[in-house]
Subunit: 138 residues, 2 copies
Amino acid sequence: MGAPADDLDLIGRRTAQRTSVVRALIDHGGFVGARALHDELRTQGAPVGLNTVYRTLAALVDAGRADVVRDRGGERLFRHRPFPEHQHYLLCRACGLSAPVDSAAVETWAEHVARTSGFAEVEHTVELTGLCPQCRTT
Amino acid sequence: MGAPADDLDLIGRRTAQRTSVVRALIDHGGFVGARALHDELRTQGAPVGLNTVYRTLAALVDAGRADVVRDRGGERLFRHRPFPEHQHYLLCRACGLSAPVDSAAVETWAEHVARTSGFAEVEHTVELTGLCPQCRTT
DNA sequence: CTAGTAGTGACAATCGTTTCCATCTACGGT
DNA sequence: ACCGTAGATGGAAACGATTGTCACTACTAG
Ligand SMILES: [Mn+2]
Ligand SMILES: [Mn+2]
Ligand SMILES: [Zn+2]
Ligand SMILES: [Zn+2]
């Protein structure tokens, strides 16, 4: 379990709101949008301003404690990352379930491309989406 | 050179506006946003409604004649794709210059993950960004 | 040529996200 | 424990990209 304490120390003052946001993100267990997290906090009786949700999530991303992906509609989805290691995910387009994937091969490939391209400060975005076992009915 | 004719046949009626948009996209030579393309068309004396620019680009993407990436701000950037083969790019965060990259290794990796994951209809997004030789001046 | 349908574009609406700013509060001195 | 203040909060307004609406236009099949 990633203790909220660890995360909170990295992002500034320890406020009730930030504590709530971090805990809600961890509890959620997968990728969530800021809006959805804001709703969950409100229904859980720990209302936090949407603005603060955005700021806390941004701070977590800066601190390397959260990963971000863009869903089909362009919305940013956040997921808590307990370990400092860079991660990629395979996530379900229907239910949002996410599974970390072993991306060693891609990292190697990306580094190779970076070295032989002439470009500097090369970064990569790698996202896999699909339909999880539960969701592939029809 | 991809002749606009080929592309226009795939997306419906042959109108002056679509012809302009397709030609402007090809002429641009790299990734462009709808807004920027709209501006270029206006300054070139071939004004087209922004809405039509969006619709034409969407049609090209549907027809597999254009690739899309999201820039940092979430804006969608489009690039004409003369060949039907799936492509990935390395693009400059400063000037927008893009270079196709050999992604065979990633395709293999993605297929492997898909087969062993239990997920169905797995799709992938792979984008590399960096600073091109011209732009890495600090 | 004409009918009929697909396309156009000005405008408004949406959606996610950011900025503003007046107010509040955590917390390192004292 | 008590301040003072930099940092944090949140409601409202601003923003930028994209999509919906709908009256009008113009391809194109016949
Ligand atoms: Mn990676
Ligand atoms: Mn690919
Ligand atoms: Zn699912
Ligand atoms: Zn460049």
